[in-house]
Symmetry: C2
Subunit: 155 residues, 2 copies
């Protein structure tokens, strides 16, 4: 379908990149569901990583993910509902509610990260580790100017 539909090698490349992303994410999602993390979406996992990396308030998370603080607050509400983060008042600033990744949240990060690594390993086995590393290096160069974040990770 890609060939006849795209009719442009540039458009095909774009679809290949998106297809690669979804291919990885779909595999990881299926495995996560089997391991008791049903309903979790990539955006949740990446948001969780951002929280763990220091985005411990809704406003800060919004900045990191390039969305409004309201959108970040909704994502946090979902993560809190799933038990992946909890919120406690900041003793030093009564406006803030500090976010913390729960043990279950850390487990999701560990399992999810391992699953992504598994998919990557399988890819490396198919095209060769050196080839995959080269591919990554090139992609990194091609996207380096994008201050990329997890926006548009909707599915």
């Amino acid at each position: 379908m890609i060939g006849p539909m795209a009719q442009s090698s540039g458009a095909e490349l774009a679809l290949l990149l998106l297809g690669g992303f979804h291919s990885m994410v779909d595999e990881v999602n299926v495995e996560l569901a089997k391991r008791g993390h049903e309903g979790v979406r990539p955006v949740h996992e990446f948001a969780l990583r951002a929280v763990d990396a220091g985005a411990d308030t809704a406003s800060e998370l919004g900045r990191r993910l390039s969305v409004t603080k309201q959108a970040a607050a909704q994502t946090i509400a979902v993560l809190e509902g799933f038990g992946y983060v909890d919120r406690e008042p900041d003793p030093g600033d009564a406006r803030r509610k500090r976010l913390r990744v729960t043990p279950r949240g850390h487990e999701l990060m560990t399992v999810g990260g391992a699953l992504f690594d598994d998919v990557r390993s399988r890819w490396a086995a198919r095209i060769g580790d050196e080839q995959l590393k080269t591919l990554e290096t090139h992609l990194a160069r091609l996207t380096e100017r994008r201050s990329f974040s997890a926006e548009d990770l909707r599915d």
Copy 2:
């Protein structure tokens, strides 16, 4: 941000692929807007290509894009509003409304395709044409089992 946030080379790879896709699409969108195709989104262009490639009814377009016929009908309504497609009754089947890409629609496809090709050329100039072709070949192999479609092209 990718490094510290991902904490997993597999997850990083996924973000690189998505970042590459968005990088291409964003550039093309900016140029399309400058050329009088404001408001058009990638999903519209890919849907248009699908219509041109033979998905000439809402139901068929839905199948090709792996969305419901209702969703396809909405996309068509947008495309029709922009003047990229028109609909006429099918003389051989009174249930169908046959879709046709208008001249303006063909122009969008041409211009959009050329813009995607431009981005691809610029990438080729940076990493080498052979390297880019190798990257594409590998991506094609890695995603070949996915009966890929334009779903999740939302942004």
